[in-house]
Symmetry: C2
């Protein structure tokens, strides 16, 4: 029943190695994946409610509370009161946060570019073509399950 000759095991190993590599490269910028994903979203989509953020990032509300506290301490994000709802807070990225994001993005891009320079032409070609595919499928899958929950 195997669709691919090598079986999925090789792919899993490949993905795990890529995970390690990217995580290490990401750490160079001083931010973990969790710590950078939220500022990135805030910079993309503007200030948001804490609950909304937690849901969007797929983490628990207490987790997001802590994460935002850490981001605030690092000067990357800011809490402001929500004028329309006394219970809520709005979380926004700071200008420092945006700068750090840009720097980090550049570093990761450099790491990935260097990785691809070490590939053969066909490998590079195939990678460029293939990599967005799993992402697309995952994205679609997540959207669908969110609709299920709603």
């Amino acid at each position: 029943m195997d669709t691919s000759p090598e079986g999925p095991d090789d792919l899993i190993v490949a993905v795990e190695q890529m995970i390690r590599y990217v995580r290490q490269s990401a750490r160079t910028g001083g931010l973990s994946t969790a710590a950078s994903s939220t500022p990135a979203r805030l910079s993309r989509e503007g200030p948001q409610r804490l609950t909304e953020l937690a849901r969007a990032e797929g983490v628990s509300q207490p987790n997001m509370t802590q994460l935002v506290t850490r981001l605030e301490r690092a000067g990357l994000a800011r809490r402001t009161a929500d004028a329309s709802d006394g219970r809520g807070v709005l979380v926004a990225v700071t200008s420092t946060g945006v700068e750090v994001l840009d720097r980090r993005r550049a570093e990761r891009a450099r790491a990935l570019r260097q990785l691809m320079e070490d590939m053969t032409g066909p490998e590079r070609q195939a990678t460029t073509t293939a990599l967005p595919a799993p992402a697309r499928v995952i994205h679609h899958r997540q959207d669908t399950s969110e609709e299920d929950r709603a």
Copy 2:
């Protein structure tokens, strides 16, 4: 000097999404990446010294001490004294550990297979071809830097 039309940013996003997906799927088995990588290595290569393990996994010695302690508590690994060196310990995977690894491997394979079923034929083809390429380059890069250190 961009080699690819889309630029590396799209690839980074793709990789990050894959990381999240695989991490979530891996968690299903009850073991994090760190907690499963070491038993996997032990099952592949046999019992090893703690220091050796730490170096191979790229973590600090205290980290490995803790990790092995957790694995022992979970019944997945075992410490034995090294007869030839009173200071050392040998870490081995248990039969339970091997079973859990197998189960986990199957679960991940299923997740990945399902992911690939949602792809178009060409996407699937390209993914199978491309995914091992970054892994190969990363692997080579790690080997080289280890030689540098030695």
